[in-house]
Symmetry: C2
Subunit: 539 residues, 2 copies
């Protein structure tokens, strides 16, 4: 019997995954993963062998096409799928991963003139070459009191779109001059599939200060940064579309390359993390989707737009069409647990077993989870982590549990920050790699939040989210689903869902401890100030 | 050729050591150590099998005599010494280790009527049963603004003399009523040797609020605590004498028991740590003797008497006759390093090697060394330790080095506190178990203090100090030394001394970091307050 499926292309840091999902019931029809042939380019440039500075992280655009095509054909084969069973395509991508191209879409780095210029290559999200540029971009925005600044918690990250352009202007002006457009990698891939240059409101909104009402920042602002940037937005051509809306149809050339059928609707791209919201089965507003991995990204759709301190961004149509999408984050979560495990020279399993036997409060130990700085709400990468309450009797399990509790307090702080700003948070869904690995972690989160937490069923919510957006772009006639919520509920059904309920005694104890955490982490308190000045003293 | 020697009896927690030292050159003529037959009594009473509460720690007075006699005979044998080669005896003892006795010196616990009553037994220094009593003793002292309180940094420890008496009144009134005198174990041992009940100004001054001008606290004060305590000082009969002054002569009975000669002068007792001052070869004032072991005790003789915040005590004639003896302390030093080593599951050697390769500042990590509370200057046992400045790149060696640096900042804080109060600190001598084990530790201390540090030559400064005090009690005719400083210099010569000089670059860096340490540990700062309230929340 003929199936009706949607394809999700999920572009990560090291590899691309293709997930083919049945739009009726969310069952996986085919799947494949391919590592990028050139991996992360952070030592030498392919071809020229040009050596890269230590903060560089690039990718090869040909990998995106070639490795994705291989993965797509493999997934189709694995699922024994025929091209006419595919009705939609969605694309999620790391962000801000971006590149300069010519007007026809050819990346500058594939041109002989620029092949050996590092800044002509696509800069991966974690490329950190634009520190100085980000500082100036922020400084000028603050000086001019730019209206969009508050939508990003008052700070633009060095990993974002304009710092990376500005870095290129400073470091390789010939590339800057030759670039006819600058584009997010996700949008570029959609362009290659459809022949249409359509920018995603997700990437533009979260990484390029775009806003539905006012567009990109003003020419005056860019001019104040550098006169050569004044007309930069002229190079950001193309209509904008929300993820889930159709960007175009698969071209014949792409259909051949990927082994698919010409004319399949393709959704506008989405940032990988944000695809996790529909992928976690969440269609409704006011539900916090906690994507928990090495770091945590907490996303929420809301009917209201408010300015929230330390938010990574609030973007209309940023995650799903029709909602204001909030993105907040914690810079180290799984990474923090891994650090504790490594420094204590003990396995996660052993520490977790010990921590599970310890009462809430970790025997008086309290951790500060800023091992990689604090994102929401303080937005300060200089901040560092800590432990207090240590005594000669403090055990490894207490340190491990304290770090888990600290990250839970961090989420609660984010929720309180959203609510204090007038953005309701009513339900909690956990997703990503950690929740299924650690029941202890989820129970502590439920106890600290004082609310039940549902663990999303899918093991691949991001790729699933991309496929869902592909199905949304395909429309009712192809999928049989009239509303967005129907698509999401059908394709990400919460089967055998795991729910954690707060323990009332633990919850009460954590109410008290959370006050201490807030006192310790107060932005003008001794610890935060000491951390900042210590960090300055070291640098 | 006949030698001229002095014996030091050094009573520890688990054992008694006898060190026989040549008074001419400090060479060791004989030595032996005997564990106490009953060890620390903390589970059941000998004989009756009575179960003890968890905070109890008792000793058996018969062990003090019997095991010391065995050790003394062994040491004499080892050294092939004849009784007429011994000219003086000194005694150091843990403190406050104390007991109730009858008027003739018989411990109550050796009487059939009280044998099965735990509180009739000698309470070891670390017996912690008198918490409630110490609280009340402090409360009343503060209410009445007792003049002696400031000499103890404003607080009386629960391990001290009167809390232990008061605990007995509350817990075993029949023992309290039957006690004819209460006495420090060191004084009791001297009493057994000489037949004279002479109290040491060291123990009385540091542990029983005695002062040369005003004696013990007033009757009114004790009455305010409990009417039954009003006349307690009537039971503290006997003259007081400074360590190094003669308490009496060895009786015939004791001479036979110990295999010695009748009539040898015996010095008044001294607290073990305090014996370490002459034992480190320090006769001059304004020299800080840092006795560094699991915890650190920093002692200083001075010509001036000042009130110093958080001091453990300032006592005239408390360490050596003629000086004001200051005792200050850090509650965890070696213990803190041991905790770091244990929790990181790595050896001291490995951590130390790694830490030695790290620049001052431990890569941005700063520790707070209060793993067992803070003694000088904050005198707050509720305080706990911590680490800040942690990042995903923080290494075990950084944590280890940060903890060493923190204890060094702690010593510097103590010196600054003394100087701020008008007590000069001019020279530094390190003693105890740690300094010879860890050159890294000593170099960091020299860099943080910004001054050279001399490591005391003797490996047994405490027992040596007791022997020196014995030689002082013996007098010029017996030893040939006219002045106290001559005895000390002759018996604790600084041969092959190890000196650490500050590195100027490191010193400058630590000047900056020390300011951060002080900000972090400010008594009204966020961390200290949070630690206190967290500790309250846990209890």
């Amino acid at each position: 019997m003929k199936r009706t499926c949607s394809i999700g292309f999920d572009f990560g840091t090291e590899s691309v995954r293709v997930l083919i999902v049945n739009v009726r019931d969310g069952s996986i029809a085919g799947e494949a993963i391919e590592p990028f042939s050139h991996g992360v380019i952070d030592r030498t440039l392919p071809g020229s062998g040009e050596t890269l500075p230590p903060d560089y992280a690039l990718q090869h655009p040909q990998d995106w096409i070639d490795n994705a095509a291989v993965a797509c054909r493999k997934a189709m084969n694995v699922g024994n799928l025929s091209p006419d069973e595919i009705v939609g395509i969605g694309v999620d991508f790391t962000s801000c991963t971006m590149l300069p191209t010519f007007a026809n879409g050819t990346p500058l780095c594939l041109d002989d003139q620029f092949r050996s210029v590092p800044l002509a290559w696509p800069k991966l999200w974690k490329h950190h070459g634009a520190k100085r540029e980000a500082d100036r971009i922020n400084e000028i925005a603050q000086e001019r009191n730019e209206p969009w600044l508050a939508r990003y918690g008052g700070i633009i990250g060095l990993e974002w779109f304009f710092p990376k352009i500005y870095e290129t202007l400073n470091g390789a002006p010939e590339v800057f001059d030759a670039a006819e457009t600058w584009i997010e990698a996700g949008d570029w891939f959609v362009w290659q599939l459809t022949g249409n240059l359509v920018r995603s409101t997700c990437q533009a909104g979260y990484k390029a200060q775009w806003n539905k009402q006012s567009g990109f920042p003003s020419r005056d602002y860019f001019k104040a940064i550098d006169p050569k940037l004044e007309t930069i937005t002229d190079k950001l051509v193309g209509p904008l579309a929300s993820p889930g809306l159709q960007a175009g149809l698969l071209t014949r050339e792409s259909a051949e390359r990927f082994g698919l059928r010409q004319g399949i609707p393709v959704s506008a791209a989405v940032i990988d993390a944000h695809a996790g919201v529909p992928g976690a089965g969440v269609a409704a507003p006011s539900t916090l989707v906690m994507v928990m991995g090495t770091s945590s990204c907490h996303m929420l759709n809301s009917r209201v737009e408010q300015l929230v301190p330390g938010i990574a961004g609030v973007v209309e149509d940023g995650i799903l069409p029709g909602y204001f999408g909030y993105e907040t984050g914690q810079a180290s979560v799984g990474d923090a647990f891994a650090w504790v495990s490594k420094i204590l020279n003990q396995s996660h399993d052993a520490l977790s077993r010990e921590a599970a036997c310890i009462a809430p409060g970790a025997g008086g130990v309290m951790a500060i989870d800023w091992l990689n700085g604090c994102r929401t709400p303080l937005m300060d990468g200089r901040l560092t982590g800590g432990f207090i309450g240590l005594s000669l009797g403090t055990t490894p399990g207490q340190l491990y549990r304290a770090m888990i509790e600290a990250t839970a307090f961090g989420v609660r702080w984010i929720c309180d920050t959203l609510r204090d700003a007038g953005v309701p948070v009513r339900r909690y869904v956990a997703s990503g790699g950690l929740p299924k690995k650690s029941p202890l972690l989820m129970q502590i989160y439920a106890d600290v939040l004082g609310e039940k937490i549902t663990v999303a069923s899918s093991d691949q919510p991001v790729a699933l989210g991309a496929a869902i957006l592909g199905a949304m772009a395909a429309g009712e006639q192809a999928t049989g689903h009239a509303a967005m919520s129907q698509v999401i509920q059908a394709m990400a059904p919460q089967n055998d869902e795991i729910v954690y309920h707060p323990d009332l005694v633990a919850r009460k104890k954590y109410e008290e401890l959370y006050k201490h955490y807030r006192a310790l982490t107060h932005p003008t308190g001794t610890i935060a100030c000491s951390m900042r000045s210590l960090s300055d003293a070291q640098s």
